[in-house]
């Protein structure tokens, strides 16, 4: 039954690459991505197109590889900047999911928190005449505070009334969506675009159409914050007392309580941090990538970020890479679709496949361990580590 146990060089190669447990946290996701790209290639082959060209066009469309030709004042850097512009909110949103997940909470309301933060920052700073030097930091602070407040509310409702955070988040998503739609439609609507009025350029976290070396590009300033904040989250979770308490509550509430950790306080803190990160994602999306808000629409970034977070193993550094991958695919899909004549939905299918195979990471690990036990030259002491991290009760 187990074909892997036959000692041929290919299997041996796979086992040596994947078998090292220290490297498995990186090698297994990479292997999963490889599998999913093969599956994606088969899908594209079925449509009668060349998968290699399609994958290259993803990279070209997102500014990793040069396109054969460019429009005036455009180049690979322009595309890259535009991809980074899209990548930025995704990182924050996925970090938001990760922090809540460490405490055993599942923040499915990232989209709603993003909307609140984006809206609050738009109407206060976005429509003011403040100079950029004041406006931009203020936008970030408002995003942090508003998102954090919503997150804290969800955590508090969970702690005080035992309301499942998933229900609260879903309900709040709807409430924010409708209430904000009401305010936009009543006071801030742009009759032409049917969106909210565009915010002032000074408040926008992305500098638009900046002339650099004869090119016109968008510079996403918000991105400068992503990597420091990812490391900050890492530091918070691994090196501070607060982070330690959050993690213990996530691992075992009863043990945490017994050890004298205030479980309720930890849940509120965790959701507040998560909400604040979602708030950052909101301002970088609505006051960066976009400059207006479409009423009655929740962004899909908040939902995709759940998968991105888990693809990155809920680890801040892993998230940087997993969100990059997903951003490249979604940014490159326009270009891929236009030059290949493949419907854009295929990009979504490939994203889905990547996430699908990554979800099987634990299974791959289990099979590798199993195969190594049966493998003549393999180590015998590797146990089947099949317990999945981050499994959450919903």
């Amino acid at each position: 039954m187990n074909k892997d146990s036959k000692a041929n060089p290919f299997v041996r190669g796979v086992l040596t690459t994947l078998g090292d447990e220290k490297r498995q946290s990186i090698s297994i996701p990479l292997f999963a991505i490889l599998l999913s790209l093969i599956a994606g290639a088969i899908v594209i082959l079925c449509l009668g197109k060349n998968p290699l060209t399609a994958f290259l066009s993803f990279l070209q469309g997102s500014g990793i590889l040069p396109k054969p030709e460019y429009a005036a004042k455009k180049s690979i850097i322009t595309d890259l900047m535009s991809m980074i512009n899209m990548w930025t909110p995704m990182i924050f949103a996925a970090l938001a999911v990760a922090v809540a997940l460490k405490t055993g909470l599942f923040n499915i309301g990232v989209s709603g928190q993003m909307l609140v933060a984006g809206f609050a920052a738009s109407i206060t700073v976005g429509y003011s005449n403040l100079p950029a030097a004041i406006a931009m930091p203020l936008v970030l602070v408002i995003g942090l505070v508003c998102g954090g407040a919503v997150g804290a509310l969800i955590g508090w409702l969970k702690h005080r009334f035992n309301i499942n955070e998933v229900v609260t988040s879903i309900m709040l998503n709807y409430i924010f969506q409708y209430v904000i739609s009401f305010f936009i439609n009543s006071y801030y609507i742009n009759p032409v675009s049917r969106q909210s009025q565009p915010i002032s350029a000074a408040a926008r976290l992305t500098l638009v159409d900046v002339p650099v070396f004869g090119l016109k590009m968008d510079i996403p300033l918000g991105f400068l914050l992503t990597i420091p904040i990812a490391f900050l989250v890492l530091f918070l979770l691994n090196k501070t007392r607060v982070g330690y308490e959050l993690k213990i509550v996530g691992l075992n509430k009863k043990a945490a309580k017994y050890a004298g950790i205030k479980v309720g306080k930890s849940m509120v803190t965790s959701m507040a941090i998560s909400g604040a990160l979602a708030g950052l994602a909101g301002v970088t999306l609505y006051l960066g990538y976009y400059n207006s808000i479409q009423p009655r629409v929740l962004t899909s970034v908040g939902f995709d970020s759940i998968a991105v977070c888990l693809l990155g193993n809920s680890h801040p550094i892993g998230i940087l890479f997993s969100s990059l991958l997903i951003s490249i695919i979604s940014k490159g899909s326009n270009y891929m679709s236009s030059i290949m004549g493949i419907p854009q939905e295929i990009a979504q299918v490939i994203t889905g496949l990547i996430l699908l195979f990554s979800a099987c990471g634990a299974y791959i690990r289990y099979r590798v361990a199993q195969a190594r036990e049966e493998f003549p030259g393999g180590k015998l002491q590797i146990g089947a580590e099949s317990k999945e991290k981050g499994g959450d009760k919903v």
Partner: protein, 320 residues
């Protein structure tokens, strides 16, 4: 008042059947965030089979084709749910990530296939199957009773079907041997194993039932609210159903209450906006009614809420 009951019921029951699907999956121990994807794919499968069978021309045969759509949406939902079951059970994937992935895949696949099928049938790659609205009927006699009669007036044909299916599924879950096993799988899978039951198989079937019921709910939404199948089916009904089943403490009876609350509050909101003659902007404010009401009620009723004990955990025989 009557319109509130009529349209409230038409919204609440599809939601309820989706929520029952969710209960089946979650009571067996498999977290199911994929309801949204299941209902979308099920509705797509039902709508697409009708389109393919009739060649895109529905005129005159709506009612038999509606039944065909119902059956195929359940089959489609169950088949698609196998993907979630495969990922979660034999492949030991994280159930949350699997659920989210299923939703992403369902939206992408249905949009892609809809335009492909439409290209073949009508020659245009539109993303919509126009289905029309499900026929309605009124029970003679009883419908004349004030207030109560509204429950028997202008009923969509799917309403009695859903009620029958819901009663049957309730019976299975609470009174049958399989239902007992299923609920035990969610609370103490090791006990099921010790008693000679097959945890994986039970959970697999539970997830497939979940898909079939979600598909049924999805096609009912397609035949009532939007009168078509299009990407607008992914309007968050699946998440609403999840909220309803958690509100209902993973039990079918209270979940029905939650769904009726959503349905009636939603219909009342619409009616209120209409009678007050409010602009569409103001009706948005009234639309938050069901959600605010839910949150307020949860503050009083959720102190005893408890999820199935083994929910979201991958079953590992060797674990103590």
């Amino acid at each position: 008042m009557n319109t509130i009951i009529i349209s409230g019921l038409a919204f609440a029951l599809p939601l309820f059947i989706i929520a029952i699907g969710g209960i089946y999956s979650e009571r067996s121990g498999i977290t199911n965030l994929a309801l949204e994807g299941f209902l979308g794919f099920g509705a797509f499968f039902g709508a697409a089979s009708v389109m393919v069978m009739t060649g895109g021309n529905l005129a005159g045969i709506e009612v038999p084709m509606f039944l065909v759509a119902l059956v195929f949406s359940m089959i489609g939902g169950a088949l698609f749910a196998m993907l979630h079951a495969l990922l979660c059970i034999p492949f030991k994937a994280n159930q949350v990530i699997s659920g989210v992935v299923i939703n992403i895949l369902a939206a992408a696949l249905t949009a892609f296939f809809t335009s492909q099928i439409n290209t073949v049938l009508v020659g245009k790659p539109t993303n919509k199957f126009v289905l029309g609205v499900c026929a309605k009927f009124t029970v003679p006699g009883i419908s004349k009773i004030p207030v109560l009669g509204a429950f028997f007036t202008d009923i969509y044909y799917y309403v009695p079907i859903i009620i029958v299916v819901a009663l049957f599924m309730t019976y299975i879950l609470y009174k049958s041997r399989f239902g007992l096993r299923l609920r035990a799988c969610g609370d103490n899978p090791h006990a099921v194993d010790a008693a000679g039951g097959d945890v994986s198989k039970t959970r697999f079937i539970a997830v497939m039932i979940s898909g079939a019921l979600s598909g049924l709910g999805g096609i009912c939404f397609a035949y009532s609210i939007s009168a078509s199948f299009s990407p607008s089916i992914y309007a968050g009904y699946g998440f609403l159903a999840i909220a309803a089943l958690i509100f209902g403490n993973w039990k079918i009876g209270p979940t029905l209450g939650a769904c009726l609350l959503f349905g009636f509050a939603r219909a009342a909101g619409y009616k209120l906006a209409q009678t007050l003659g409010l602009s569409s902007a103001f009706s948005d404010i009234i639309m938050i009614l069901p959600y605010v009401l839910t949150l307020l009620l949860l503050m009083f009723f959720s102190s005893t809420n408890r999820a199935p004990r083994a929910l979201g955990e991958i079953y590992d025989k060797g674990k103590r």
